[in-house]
């Protein structure tokens, strides 16, 4: 069961990611990115990260993507112009990236030996209670710092996007 889920949703994630890169219109890319994020949420569930899966759906696939789609609609962004300005980048870059992927896969296969096979329910410490307990005991300082960061980001976004007052 989890083998089928992994194969299906990893295929969807890779296909949506490729579609994101290939599409010319930003809206198509945004919809593809929602597909990637939703299938990654399923993979988090398989890995036992229930809280992270829900946060992924709500924060990433919900809030951040709404922000993106809102901006695309607001700016009325059209399709990208046709024609590749740097053809050598395509001919050189894709083999290089594929080679890099091969090297990374080889290293991962060599380094992460004896790792347990992933079965659904193999790790149950990722529920909201466990994450919250870790977040408010061991990681309480990073939590507070990141709240200051979010406050600064809100102020910065307001300052950047405001209208100049005459």
């Amino acid at each position: 069961m989890d083998v089928i889920l992994f194969l299906v949703f990893s295929a969807i994630a890779v296909a949506c990611a490729l579609n994101l890169v290939v599409q010319r219109h930003p809206i198509s890319s945004a919809i593809s990115l929602v597909g990637v994020m939703a299938s990654l949420a399923i993979l988090y569930l398989l890995l036992g990260g229930e809280f992270i899966a829900m946060a992924q759906m709500i924060v990433y696939a919900g809030a951040i993507m709404v922000l993106f789609v809102f901006t695309i609609m607001l700016l009325n962004a059209g399709a990208e112009k046709r024609g590749v300005k740097r053809p050598w980048a395509v001919y050189l870059g894709i083999p290089l990236l594929t080679g890099l992927l091969g090297i990374i896969s080889f290293l991962v296969q060599g380094q992460v030996q004896g790792s347990p096979p992933v079965i659904l329910g193999g790790f149950t410490g990722g529920a909201a209670g466990d994450v919250g307990r870790a977040l408010f005991t061991r990681y309480v300082l990073p939590f507070e710092v990141v709240s200051v960061l979010v406050l600064i980001a809100i102020l910065g976004a307001m300052v950047l996007a405001r209208k100049e007052i005459e």
Binding site: L100, I104, V146, L160
Partner: protein, 107 residues
């Protein structure tokens, strides 16, 4: 129903999937010229890193990886808010979203 190629998924496959998504994001970051699409490729790379955090958290049976990916999500949300505000300002001043035409910092 045909038999599946494997009976269980090794953890390595999750890491390789994460690397694949990351490199697709890198490719999009390099090839695309629309600034919003480039920004979405950055989000794709952050998601790929989150996947490997959660996968390694499974391997060590500890919740720390989940905490890290939670923080990555928070920072990504802040980054999206500020970045999209910057894009709005750039568009207001330049009326374009092509990164090749926004080159006043070059040279």
């Amino acid at each position: 129903m045909p038999p599946l190629p494997v009976s269980q998924i090794p953890l390595n496959w999750y890491l390789i999937l994460s690397a694949t998504l990351f490199l697709i994001g890198v490719a999009g970051f390099i090839y695309r010229r629309n600034i919003i699409t480039i920004f979405m490729c950055i989000e794709l790379m952050l998601n790929a890193v989150n996947l490997s955090f959660v996968a390694l958290s499974y391997q060590w049976k500890q919740v720390d990886g989940h905490i890290f990916s939670f923080f990555v999500m928070v920072v990504a949300a802040a980054e999206a808010a500020v970045g999209l505000a910057i894009i709005l300002t750039v568009f207001k001043n330049r009326q374009t979203l092509e990164v090749d035409e926004i080159s006043s910092l070059r040279n």
